[in-house]
């Protein structure tokens, strides 16, 4: 079944929040279930960052114990390295997906570990932005989708050095076409890329298949300088940069199959994240009223693809 048909079977999730192992234990961190109770519309689902060797922490388990929707965000696979798809890891992913019953799998399509897979690495770097690398990545997306039976949405990773001759959006357009897959567009990461390349925030959208975007991420960042080199620290703070908001507004307005928006802010207290959630909720309300119709589709967890 082509993506254009498969996407209609994916559930609408709306606005959600992310977590990863131990994040909820940090002092001052967001309690995702408290957020859900206080503002159900801001935490309609939980994106669970998973390193298969660690499993799920108490916060993720408490969430799924209430039978609430999730997505599975992998933190431990270099999709373009075939050696990464070993039987032991795939069995762990299937088992964890069985617990989470996610709407889909997603995650940064970059280099999570240096050398072979190691516990606790999670040291993310972007792919080389070349046609050859895009094709290898697409093949990995298909391999994982076939192996676990869920949609796999590759996400554009952050970086300070981007090598290659393709624009990041052209790279992921090629991945999406070859893998016939949906995408997770991280708007903050895209803003970082545009800044590094010296481009305006919306550069590259002219040839980009927005109908492939199923989920977006929004997060705060901090502008920094190193010896004259300007870069953005993807620190997941609450100060979302203006460039990121421009990208978010553009995509929310124009991506017809957008089904999920994550505000990545789990390491911040509730009071600090309210403005970001409120602004995103407002954008989604506007879209529901006037835009391409987010709010359609099923709201229940999806069956495997």
């Amino acid at each position: 079944m082509p993506f254009s048909d498969r996407v209609s079977r994916l559930p609408w999730l709306g606005l959600g929040v992310s977590t990863e192992y131990g994040a909820g234990d940090a002092p001052g961190a967001l309690d995702v279930l408290d957020l859900r109770d206080l503002h159900p519309g801001w935490a309609r689902f939980l994106e669970v960052g998973v390193e298969a060797s660690r499993g799920l922490d108490q916060h993720a388990r408490a969430w799924i114990a209430r039978d609430l929707p999730t997505t599975y965000h992998y933190l431990d696979v270099n999709l373009d390295e075939p050696e990464d798809f070993d039987d032991e890891w795939l069995a762990s992913v299937r088992a964890l997906a069985g617990l989470l019953r996610p709407a889909w799998l997603c995650g940064d399509a970059g280099m999570w570990h240096l050398g072979r897979r190691e516990r606790g690495h999670m040291l993310l770097l972007p792919p080389v932005l070349s046609a050859e690398a895009a094709d290898a990545l697409a093949d990995g997306v298909v391999r994982l989708r076939d192996a676990v039976g869920y949609e796999v949405l590759p996400e554009n990773p952050p970086g300070r050095v981007f090598l290659g001759d393709l624009h990041l959006l052209d790279f992921f357009a090629r991945v999406a076409e070859r893998a016939d897959t949906g995408l997770l567009l991280d708007c903050a990461h895209l803003g970082i890329f545009q800044r590094v390349r010296g481009l305006p925030p919306l550069t590259g959208f002219d040839g980009f298949p927005l109908e492939r975007v199923v989920e977006i991420h929004v997060a705060g960042g901090s502008e920094r300088q190193t010896g004259g080199f300007a870069w953005v620290d993807d620190d997941h703070g609450t100060a979302v940069l203006a460039d990121t908001w421009r990208i978010v507004e553009h995509v929310v307005d124009a991506a017809p199959n957008l089904k999920a928006v994550v505000f990545e802010c789990e390491r911040n207290p509730l009071a600090a994240v309210r403005p970001g959630f409120a602004r995103l909720a407002g954008l989604l309300d506007q879209r529901a009223a006037h835009g391409p119709g987010m709010g359609g589709g099923r709201a229940a967890p999806a069956a495997p693809a």
Partner: protein
């Protein structure tokens, strides 16, 4: 697959300022042995030099993950840790998709004061990562399972680990040598250390080289004092214990 080779060079540059300096001074020498196309080399050189060092905390984050498994050796030679990212084991592990933990252990073991402790911690890290559900060797052959390792170290090395991990002064090491079995507990991540008699260590060390004829392993057992009949019984016990596959 040169995009992977290129990305691995990128990783090395992000962690090793000395490689960055060599890249801009003499790219041919810095990139020797790496199969890159001309345009890929140009992408590296077109990158602002300051960008490679913009995440000064990145190496520390990698070290933090590695230190979980090498607390004792790191306690002994803290300055050695700081040179890891310029070391040959680090660059080889990244470029050849090896184990970073093994490379770190190898680097720490290069310092005489930490050699045996680092080897033990490297073996612990290695057996912990061994695949589950290993298959038996072919008929008539046996090998040491990857979940086990045999080491010869200075007497007292194993006893020094708890003190070093706790940041305390360890008991003085003996002048002799001892054999240790490093063994991952079946079905768990726990790893135990056990002193081995010389004869048993010799048999297991011979089997560690890969699938070995049972007759050859029995001969090793006899060389170390096993009687005919007892030699095969020893091997059968090691198979039942899951050490030999």
């Amino acid at each position: 697959m040169s995009h992977l080779a290129l990305r691995r060079v990128m990783v090395r540059l992000l962690h090793d300022p000395s490689l960055v300096a060599r890249l801009y001074r003499n790219p041919d020498a810095a990139l020797a042995g790496v199969d890159l196309r001309g345009e890929e080399r140009r992408w590296l050189l077109d990158t602002p030099r300051e960008a490679w060092g913009s995440d000064a905390e990145r190496p520390q984050r990698v070290l933090a993950a590695l230190l979980d498994e090498f607390p004792a050796a790191a306690h002994l030679v803290p300055r050695r840790m700081r040179t890891f990212f310029a070391s040959e084991p680090f660059h080889r592990a990244v470029q050849e998709r090896g184990s970073l933990a093994a490379a770190f252990g190898q680097h720490l073991a290069g310092e005489p004061g930490a050699r045996d402790v680092a080897r033990v911690e490297e073996a612990i890290a290695r057996v912990r990562r061994a695949p589950r559900g290993e298959r038996a060797s072919g008929a008539g052959r046996l090998r040491l399972g990857a979940h086990a390792a045999v080491l010869e170290v200075a007497t007292g090395t194993a006893d020094s680990l708890p003190a070093l991990r706790a940041g305390r002064v360890p008991p003085r090491a003996g002048s002799g040598r001892e054999h240790l079995l490093v063994l991952r507990t079946p079905g768990a991540d726990d790893v135990a250390l056990e002193a081995l008699p010389d004869g048993l260590a010799a048999v297991l060390a011979a089997a560690a080289a890969g699938p070995t004829a049972v007759a050859a392993l029995a001969a090793v057992a006899r060389e170390h004092g096993a009687e005919p009949g007892e030699d095969v019984a020893v091997l059968e016990t090691l198979v039942v214990d899951g050490l030999l596959l």
